[in-house]
């Protein structure tokens, strides 16, 4: 028995692991370019949210048809990966269907489940391709989807289809070989979905079928390893990041904006209110609000890497619906693109964050920020609890407090509030005038 295939397999597995670890480190560093934030209160509620929203796909089911199809792909991904375990062990040990003799009928049942899922994934992915490229569901054809994002989605779907075809073809060839009593091929008895491919393959010679079976096996496992690496370059990263992303969900009421303690200290000092803050101000005062990715919480950068660009946020955004430039999905894509740019620059020994560019201005314009109604529709719509609103509001803070760049009408509103304690220009003395009318009215019986 030749050990060459095992050796080749180990080299491929090792190389794939090496690249994957390198990519994971790159992503982790990029995410941690964001500001540190500790968000691990209420762990029980966090685990529950992760179980329901990520594992249980709860929010996907707001749109039933895509949810149903996505559910197949998701379960297929989880379950077929169990089979990949056998693939890897077979590859290392030079065995074939390692678990079959131990599991007997259970193995056959499991294989049929895998085949059903492979078929369901295949059909779902074909429908997804049609939705994106033929019927052109509006949320997939927005301006921010032009070019690479649309290509990325198509590559993922095509690769998944090809991988699933490989599994079914491999099983069909494998079982024909077993029925011919060839070598180590074992009959696992009645595989339903791959048996449809039997008529196509059964007229070929044994040698050719061994080639087909081996080729499909290698294609599938190498394909999966390559796909795992590809995912780290792709919007498809949500298959892993959806889990931590939902664990770190914002559990506070959605309407609440996070307080800025640095401002509280200054306000208290101005008003002569004693504070807990140290007497000496910190050596380095950070920026107010967010201009670049390092001003955002690392959780928001992770949000950006978790985003799979489904566009449910943008489809629900009142500003986007009425033709304004704002698209919450684009906000997330911009954060990710900027993090990638900075990360790559740092790795190349470049200037990183000091490259003269920033998230505000070079990626996201004030016009987009100013169009937001803070209605939380995007946050509610996101199937994995991404929070584009927090980023928008953080950036508005930078524009208002560091640049004094808010629209003139807002500046007038600020001025009214400072002088009249109301956003409109009324005399504070008149605030209680509304009561005069009722005070003179008699209460009917």
């Amino acid at each position: 028995m030749s050990f060459l295939p095992q050796l080749i397999f180990l080299i491929i597995l090792g190389a794939a692991s090496f690249f994957l670890i390198k990519r994971v480190k790159f992503l982790r560093r990029n995410i941690l370019l964001g500001k540190s934030e500790i968000r691990n209160d209420q762990p029980e509620k966090r685990w529950k949210t992760m179980l329901l929203v990520a594992f249980g796909q709860q929010k996907m089911f707001k749109r039933f048809i895509p949810a149903f199809l996505h559910f197949f792909v998701y379960v297929g991904f989880l379950v077929i990966n169990l089979e990949v375990l056998e693939f890897v062990l077979d590859g290392i040990l030079g065995t074939h269907r390692l678990f079959a003799p131990y599991l007997g009928g259970v193995y056959t049942a499991a294989m049929n489940v895998f085949e059903f899922l492979a078929f369901a994934v295949l059909v779902s992915c074909v429908i997804f391709l049609i939705r994106r490229n033929v019927t052109k569901v509006p949320r997939f054809t927005k301006p921010e989807m032009k070019g690479w994002p649309a290509m990325d989605a198509t590559i993922i779907l095509v690769v998944e289809i090809v991988l699933m075809v490989a599994i079914l073809k491999m099983n069909a060839a494998d079982q024909i070989l077993a029925s011919r009593g060839v070598g180590h091929y074992i009959s696992v008895g009645g595989l339903f979905f791959s048996s449809f491919l039997t008529p196509i393959l059964e007229n070929f010679s044994t040698e050719f079928l061994i080639f087909v079976e081996r080729a499909a096996w290698w294609f599938h496992i190498v394909g999966i390893l390559a796909f795992a690496i590809y995912v780290t370059y792709s919007k498809h990263l949500h298959i892993f990041l959806a889990f931590p992303n939902t664990w770190y969900s914002n559990l506070k009421p959605k309407g609440e904006m996070v307080n800025m303690p640095a401002v509280t200290n200054e306000v208290n000092m101005m008003l002569g209110i004693p504070t807990d803050a140290p007497v000496d101000p910190p050596a380095e005062i950070g920026r107010f609000g967010a201009k670049d990715i390092n001003d955002l919480s690392w959780i928001h950068v992770m949000n950006a890497y978790s985003c799979t660009e489904c566009g449910r946020c943008t489809a629900e955004c009142p500003a986007n619906l009425t033709g304004k430039k704002l698209s919450p999905r684009k906000i997330m894509m911009d954060v990710r693109d900027r993090a990638e740019e900075v990360g790559k620059s740092l790795d190349a020994g470049g200037k990183g964050l000091e490259d003269g560019k920033s998230l505000l201005g070079d990626y996201i314009t004030k016009e987009e920020l100013n169009a937001c109604t803070s209605c939380n529709a995007c946050v509610e719509a996101c199937p994995i609890n991404i929070d584009p609103l927090a980023i928008i509001l953080d950036m508005r803070r930078y524009v208002a407090m560091e640049e004094s760049g808010t629209p003139a009408q807002w500046n007038a509103m600020f001025q009214n509030m400072e002088t009249s304690f109301a956003p409109w220009k009324f005399s504070p003395q008149d605030r209680f005038n509304w009561a005069e009318k009722v005070k003179n009215e008699e209460i009917p019986d």
Binding site: P253, K254, G255, E256, N259, V263, T264, V267, N268, L271, G289, E316, P318, A319, L321, T322, G323, K324, K325, E367, N370, A371, C372, T373, S374, C375, N376, A377, V379, E380, L393, R396, R397, Y398, A400, M401, T406, P407, Q409, W410, A412, M413, F414, M417, E418, F421, A422, P423, W424, F426, Q429, R431, F432, N433, W434, V438, N440, E442, I443, P444
Partner: protein, 263 residues
């Protein structure tokens, strides 16, 4: 016969009394000509039911919500800290307000600045009064049997998860409650949140309130019920824009209840 009373906290404190609840009127409730009617309606209900309440009157100031959403955290906190000093000075425990923006800010954002109160929206307060039988609805008023749709305010609904209280209040009026295509968690904003109320919209192909008004009109409802001063303005403008102001009225929940009570 007696007249309606609107006691202020200062008057009450002067007499050594403290009310059960502070009615936070808000800027729109104090100054907006249309929305003053809502404030008056709510005060009438409180009088009629005999709720022990007071207002801050001239001591009230903007919560700071629009400044915060527009990015001006300094101004927000200046407003907030001043308001909290006044409220804590009167030892206020419970606050009711008709404005979801004030509601959200006082309930969720004042605690970080030292203001801790039980805060409820007037829809929840009215729901409680109805459930407790304190508001005796005649159910035969001008709304009886009419189609009414409720427009969810973002800061009440998605912002704070209050969806049923306003609907319960409407149902108590013996009307046909019809939902818009986008409602509850999927409700469409009126276009005024996030300080949009105070500036022209960014360039686009349509105004948000027109989109929302079209949805409301599509239900065939004769009344659009709201629970927010900004939504009231936006929806009223939308109905006018569609030249439907004679057939379709926009009312706040408190106005509807007051009308039904004959006050």
């Amino acid at each position: 016969m007696s007249t309606y009373k609107v006691p202020t906290m200062a008057e009450m404190a002067g007499k050594g009394e403290s009310p059960e609840v502070l009615f936070w009127v808000g800027c729109a409730g104090s100054f907006d000509d249309r929305y003053k009617a809502v404030t008056q309606a709510f005060v009438k209900i409180l009088n009629k039911v005999g709720v022990s309440f007071a207002v801050l009157g001239p001591e009230e100031a903007c919560t700071g919500d629009p400044a915060r959403r527009a990015g001006n955290e300094f101004l927000f906190q200046m407003q907030a800290v001043a308001n909290i000093q006044v409220m804590n000075g009167y030892d206020i425990k419970k606050v009711v307000t008709a404005c979801p923006h004030c509601f959200n800010t006082i309930k969720n954002e004042y605690p970080a600045l030292g203001g801790n109160y039980e805060v409820i929206h007037h829809s929840q307060f009215l729901q409680q009064l109805i459930n407790e039988g304190k508001v005796a609805l005649k159910g035969g008023g001008e709304f009886k049997g009419k189609k009414i749709t409720f427009h969810d305010s973002c800061f009440l609904g998605r912002g704070n998860g209050v969806y049923e209280a306003p609907r319960d209040v409407i149902r108590a009026l013996d009307v046909e409650l019809v939902e818009m295509k986008r409602c509850k968690t999927k409700g469409l904003c009126c276009g005024a949140g996030g300080a949009q109320m105070f500036k022209e919209p960014e360039p686009g192909k349509k105004d948000i309130n027109i989109e929302r008004t079209e949805e409301a009109l599509a239900t065939g409802a004769s009344t659009i019920a709201v629970g927010c001063p900004f939504c009231l303005t936006m929806m009223t403008d939308g109905v006018k824009n569609k030249e439907k102001e004679t057939e379709v009225k926009v009312y706040d929940l408190a106005e509807m209840i007051a009308k039904d009570m004959g006050i």
